[in-house]
Symmetry: C2
Subunit: 333 residues, 2 copies
Amino acid sequence: MKKISAAISLFALLSAMPAIAQEADKPESPSPNAIVDAAPASEWVTISPSDLLVMDLAPDAKGEARRVVIQLMPEPFSQGWIRNIRKLAAAKFWDGTSINRVQDNYVVQWGDAGYDNPESGETEQKALPEGLETVPESAYITPMTDDMVTNGIATHIIDQASNDDYFPSNGTDPYINETSVMAGWPFGFAEEGVSPVHCYGAVGVGRNYSPDTGSGTELYTVIGHAPRHLDRNIAVVGRVIEGIEHLSSLPRGKGQLGFYAGASKRVPITSIRLGDALGDGSVPAFEYLDTNSDVFAQYADARANRRDPFFIKPAGGADICNIPVPVRRTKVE
Amino acid sequence: MKKISAAISLFALLSAMPAIAQEADKPESPSPNAIVDAAPASEWVTISPSDLLVMDLAPDAKGEARRVVIQLMPEPFSQGWIRNIRKLAAAKFWDGTSINRVQDNYVVQWGDAGYDNPESGETEQKALPEGLETVPESAYITPMTDDMVTNGIATHIIDQASNDDYFPSNGTDPYINETSVMAGWPFGFAEEGVSPVHCYGAVGVGRNYSPDTGSGTELYTVIGHAPRHLDRNIAVVGRVIEGIEHLSSLPRGKGQLGFYAGASKRVPITSIRLGDALGDGSVPAFEYLDTNSDVFAQYADARANRRDPFFIKPAGGADICNIPVPVRRTKVE
């Protein structure tokens, strides 16, 4: 049965799937995904639909729907921009705008590209809702507060200081003093404070030159190797948790910086809404693995020290963006 | 002129283009790309066409050609697999095979998916050329030799030990003792030897479980965040230097591990040839920036410490995969 052996060979390649762990001759060394799949329901944290931003693109060439789900960052991080984004979604600002830029190994960017009015010869842009905030650059970094600690948001940082396996990249990150995950998100830590990290799928706020920080009307997501040089230079407001393939597999733009050359190349955005205000009445249900849980500790350790059968030399470490926080559709138990 | 200001705003976003550096109010702080573009022709190293692997996919839906150019690693790295790949290309082994797997934020993989013979009911696979080597796992790592040093291949490592800015990730890489670039390629360094790094665009050799190391018939390229946990576990044989968008923008596979579900989804490979044996008689001419040059040192420093106008907080470091070696079509001076 050549086909079957070939199939196994293909599945074995680069494998990190539970299916492989089950095939393993070393069942005591599960893959990171097998560890996550075995986590009890109690270890998963529900994501409020009101903290989701749901982007529907025009159907693809085959008429198939394209929905991208973004999780917004929790308080107290980037909240000025996130308040703007909530206002923009409520005002249906992005409806009828488009994806305007797809730069390979970098970002996909969307927003209002403007409308060339043939009568006036002017380019008109959509009116903004009232009351958008101008957020200061200082908000790129959030001071560590006692409140964070007492609320447990920083428990992780404290706990894992004594456990090198837990976050092997601590002290070995070239971009900042320390990196870790808390409250379900990757962060960088320095004396000046806490800053979100630009990992694959991170969603940020486009801006002009400093001191502009962007209003939130122009958003982008990372579709390549983590551009960590953007950390503390641009606001990170969330991450794509479902449907990123609808962005990452788009044709690359042939203009400068990967902008689409001409309006006809742009991908229309049908609507962007908060998860609790979808036009179709549906309510997206997602959850993330509690990053303070022992299961997450085991998962992070397994990502940094691959012991599942495919691997012969565990690295002994991993960078913060190679330990993605597991997020899934809520399982109905 | 709202459009123009909007355009500048868009171009400013995440900018690393020389065009932006020219707009800069701090001309003494050029972007990394501006530094590269200003490098004299003498600082570029020609890549021999015989060290290129040229993959032509079937034309896309719009009938446009899709060519991907891969640079093979230099001696003494991964040469057993590379000798096999040269034999496979000469035997036209990949002609009529296909891209079989596209896993988001991970890899695109191609090779012989097999042919289901309706008469025999068996799945038949293409015959292999004579004389393919079985490469040992020890070849994932290459010992540092005096020869490397005397030939200057390791000059970089020696030179930059005294310059933290040069390779800021040295000593701060979570995966291995040290990382650096030599002879135009990123490597990891440990007591046991030198190992190629899985950065975006790296091309590796699919394999089955250890002790299999793969023959070279199944190849993949990285289309996401650097999967450094694969370093020293799979052979890296090259990198895509042109046309990676023809792979990274392919529809993601919906089968396990991103394999295409069904033969109809696979992307046909018309041919794969060495660069000095193209059917159309053309000879691809590429060059890379001499990684022992002062210009490369300035570029690496600028990648790690972004001082061009868009940035407000230089990171002070970068990981090895965020300092890609500049490669370009040879400019006719």
